[in-house]
């Protein structure tokens, strides 16, 4: 690990003590920490010790920066873009200072074999200590021929880099669950990281792109506590993915009142009513959009009038039409199938009736039996 601590590094960068503490407070806020009522320590149950700015600061003062290797596969670099162009520069700066990105194809100034050689050196030097961040899905079809870097397949590069990693962080829906490349018919047999790497902790931060503050908050948690945060069944940090968009939506009261926008330019849309009828996937989408929002808390899709696409959930590209109500079935029977079912039913019914009739006739011709 790099010897100097995060704080020492920040001091060198010209960050004052005051700014440092402000950043720590912001980090604690992003992580959803320090929200407990101000009670004396002794009166709190032992499992509810408040983690506050002070603790975050102490961690950053004593811990060295974490080396990060950032791999990009079948991606659009949107997650990197979102992170680097995030409108909360202090926070992102802080995290970019807290971690030390040793390899990132898009951000690295150098190119070619020298960069690759550097990556290998870093992997060797920090074996078992570095965080591996993956952006983009991994094509597994045709021996991974659909995505190669420096002549090696994504699959190969990922397994190699994951071997020496302390943990793997999949950022964005592509790296988490396959994303757009995995959409039907999935020509490259794309997969998410956790489908391939099973012997290391894999943390998913899905979204399209992942919310920068969620990404930084998760990394901050790792740095402050030295452990991965609590995860849900899809390996997403519960702090950020514990609630649905619907649960925290500002348009929720309109849903309850049955006031829906029927199109994008009707009265309902102008009045800011619920977008459920326009295909909002908020009820089944777990993410922090409705709380953290984007662009310094300015807005998020539902607030600006567009239904949630469900971009932090697996297979969201195949989850029915984006503008089709969520209660609608995912696959409708085709007209031909319905026609065939009707025809089959009619023929079977007619045949069964014909058989029944001929039986009745036979019985009628036979000598009558006593019937009770």
């Amino acid at each position: 690990m790099p010897k100097e601590t995060v704080y020492e590094h920040l001091q060198k960068e010209g960050v004052s003590r005051r700014d440092f503490l402000k950043m720590c407070g912001m980090l604690a806020g992003v992580m959803g920490l320090g929200q407990l009522p101000a009670l004396e320590d002794g009166r709190l149950p032992p499992d509810l010790h408040p983690v506050t700015t002070r603790q975050v600061a102490r961690a950053l003062e004593t811990k060295p920066r974490i080396p990060v290797i950032w791999l990009e596969f079948q991606d659009c670099a949107g997650c990197s873009e979102a992170l680097t162009r995030s409108q909360s520069p202090t926070l992102v700066n802080l995290v970019m200072n807290v971690i030390s990105v040793e390899y990132h194809e898009t951000l690295t100034a150098a190119a070619g074999f020298q960069t690759e050689a550097n990556k290998e050196a870093v992997m060797e030097k920090y074996r078992g200590q570095y965080l591996l961040v993956v952006e983009g899905s991994i094509p597994t079809g045709d021996n991974g021929a659909y995505c190669t870097i420096g002549g090696r397949s994504a699959l190969d590069l990922l397994t190699e880099a994951a071997q020496g990693a302390a943990a793997v962080v999949a950022t964005g829906n592509c790296a988490s669950f396959g994303g757009l490349p995995k959409a039907k018919p999935n020509p490259t047999s794309a997969k998410g990281v956790w489908e391939i790497i099973t012997d290391k902790p894999v943390l998913n931060i899905p979204g399209c792109p992942a919310i920068p503050e969620v990404f930084t908050g998760t990394l901050a948690h790792y740095i402050v506590f030295g452990a991965l945060p609590e995860l849900d069944s899809l390996n997403r940090p519960l702090t950020f993915y514990g609630n649905t968009i619907h649960d925290r939506c500002l348009r929720r009261p309109f849903y309850e009142a049955g006031k829906f926008a029927g199109s994008f330019d009707d009265e309902g849309a102008r009045n800011g009513w619920c977008l459920y009828k326009l295909g909002c996937k908020g009820p089944t989408t777990y993410n922090a959009c409705a709380v953290m929002k984007w662009d310094q808390g300015l807005s998020f899709p539902v607030q600006s009038g567009h239904p949630c696409l469900g971009c932090s959930e697996p297979n969201f590209w195949d989850g029915g039409g984006f503008y089709q109500g969520q209660s609608a079935p995912l696959s409708r029977p085709e007209a031909t199938a319905v026609g065939a079912a009707v025809a089959a039913g009619a023929v079977a019914g007619a045949a069964a009736s014909a058989i029944g009739r001929s039986k009745n006739k036979k019985q009628a011709n036979e000598p009558a039996k006593d019937e009770d």
């Binding site: 069944s233 849903y255 049955g258 297979n315 079912a341 019914g349 009739r357």
Partner: protein, 225 residues
């Protein structure tokens, strides 16, 4: 397997199969009745058949449900009459005028219609559920109902009740996470769709059939249905 995958299955391939079984099965049932041996109508009508059909429908929809004393069901077993009526009313309104259900119909039929606000459909759903429970208790305690209730009736009650209760719990977020509630609702709906053609729940189709046929007979004889 997580609930999300189960939901995708229940909303996707399973729903498709269930819907086709439902359509095919109901057509089969209808064909069985249509191809029964119909006797040729050789007797001249003493009244208008069309009139008979119209009266039969009007009475069925407007008179009997709301003027209970004309039917003996009311005096003999009030629970069946009231709870049965409320159950049917609640079910139909929620199924047709509930927003999520309308959107499901819209995707199947290609056109939609205005819906009722959630508080209204929600109360009707609650009423329908309470009515279902009342009907169950009635079946358990009423001596006559006990006699005519067999395994098929218990299964009918269960398979109708499950989608209703799971839908209600889903709307009120009483089962978490939401996709689990949604999955349970969809799975029970799929099960019900497959079961309807095999059971007497298919009466929702035959009701109109028998009402028409009876109306014709009554009209032909010139008597009031």
């Amino acid at each position: 397997m997580d609930w999300y995958t189960i939901l995708e299955f229940a909303r996707g391939p399973l729903f498709k199969v269930a819907w086709l079984v439902f359509i095919g099965g109901m057509t089969y049932r209808l064909a069985r009745v249509i191809f029964l041996t119909w006797k040729k109508d050789k007797v001249p009508s003493s009244g208008s058949k069309l009139n008979g059909v119209a009266k039969s429908y009007l009475k069925g929809f407007l008179v009997w449900p709301f003027v209970p004393w004309v039917k003996r069901t009311f005096s003999k077993n009030m629970v069946t009459y009231l709870a049965g009526g409320l159950f049917h009313l609640g079910l139909l309104v929620v199924l047709i005028l509930g927003t999520p259900h309308m959107l499901a119909w819209k995707s199947l039929l290609g056109f939609g219609w205005p819906t009722l606000p959630l508080p209204i459909t929600d109360w009707l759903a609650a009423v329908a559920i309470v009515a279902m429970v009342a009907l169950l208790i009635n079946r358990l305690v009423n001596p006559v109902m006990k006699l005519i209730t067999g395994p098929a009736e218990w299964l009918n009650w269960t398979l109708v009740f499950l989608p209703m209760i799971s839908g209600y719990l889903m709307t009120h977020h009483l089962i978490n996470p939401y996709e689990k509630a949604f999955s349970l609702h969809m799975l029970t709906v799929d099960l019900l769709l497959i079961w309807i053609p095999l059971s007497r729940i298919s009466h929702f189709m035959f009701y109109f059939f028998s009402r028409t046929v009876q109306g014709i007979y009554f009209g032909k004889r010139g008597v009031n249905p």
